[in-house]
Amino acid sequence: MMWKEKYKIGVELIDQQHEELFRRVSDFIGTVRSENPWDTKLSKIKETLEFMNDYVITHFRDEEEYQAKINYPGLEKHKKIHDDFKAEVVEFVRLFEETGFDEDLVQRFSGKLLAWLINHVAGIDQKIGEFARKQEVPHHES
């Protein structure tokens, strides 16, 4: 996955976290996609999954706090998107444990994660930045 300058929303904390999130998800997907036999890379997969997962939780929390701070009108809707995604991850992790990290299941999870994250950061999160910028503009009318 490639981090792009245009993904930045102009809020330093969020931009740094998004970049770090891209790094961690890339690491995880890189491990999942590597050529090595599945059982030899399982411990690395579990490790990178956990490393990524922790960061997702932290980042969602911080991003929601920031939205609350600027009175972002889309907060509730955005929070629901985060919560739904977290719930999906929890369900996948439960299935991973139940199936002993079935390869096909982990591959499907990784593909979804890839597309979900890009759309979320490059699309949905951009609206937070747009709103924040509008708030900063002093209005001369009144």
Binding site: M1, G111, N119, A122
Partner: protein, 149 residues
């Protein structure tokens, strides 16, 4: 079927390909056709004010290129990883299309995307929306009916 319904899907696909892949999209004329399949076929169903089925057909080369752009990794076959990434793209496009449909006072829910070997819809004919993107063709088979109130 009303042109604005088909257009809602076109608009959504165009935006999503631009935002997620930096890929431009144009459309060819829409025509009524028997359902087509090609490479990876992903189906989503609509329920609510409009009911029906949308089938996205991605030729193999387009599918591999899309996932290569997102992941930065070489892709060589249509495996679970790729099909799942494409399913999520379809999910995002149809979710955004549902938002566009609200402008025409149509409220719809979408079902989770499903990868199918041989796509089918309720009717044997559907509207075919052929898209030409910078990285190859994508076909949208759209079959929708308005529910009478």
């Amino acid at each position: 079927m009303k042109a604005e319904y088909v257009n809602s899907f076109y608009q959504a696909a165009q935006d999503v390909f631009k935002i997620m892949l930096d890929v431009g999209t144009q459309k060819d004329d829409v025509f009524t056709h028997e359902i087509t399949d090609d490479g990876a076929n992903i189906t989503i169903k609509l329920k609510g004010d409009l009911t029906g089925t949308i089938v996205f057909s991605f030729p193999k080369e387009t599918a591999l290129e899309m996932v290569k752009i997102m992941s930065g990794m070489e892709m060589d076959k249509l495996d679970s990883f790729i099909l799942s990434a494409l399913s999520e793209i379809v999910n995002i496009i149809c979710g955004n299309a549902a938002t566009h449909l609200q402008k025409y006072n149509k409220s719809v829910d979408i079902t989770p995307p499903e990868v199918v070997e041989k796509p089918s819809t309720e009717a044997d004919k559907c509207e075919l929306l052929p898209l030409k993107t910078d990285i190859g063709a994508v076909k949208l088979n759209i079959q929708l009916e308005e529910n009478q109130e």
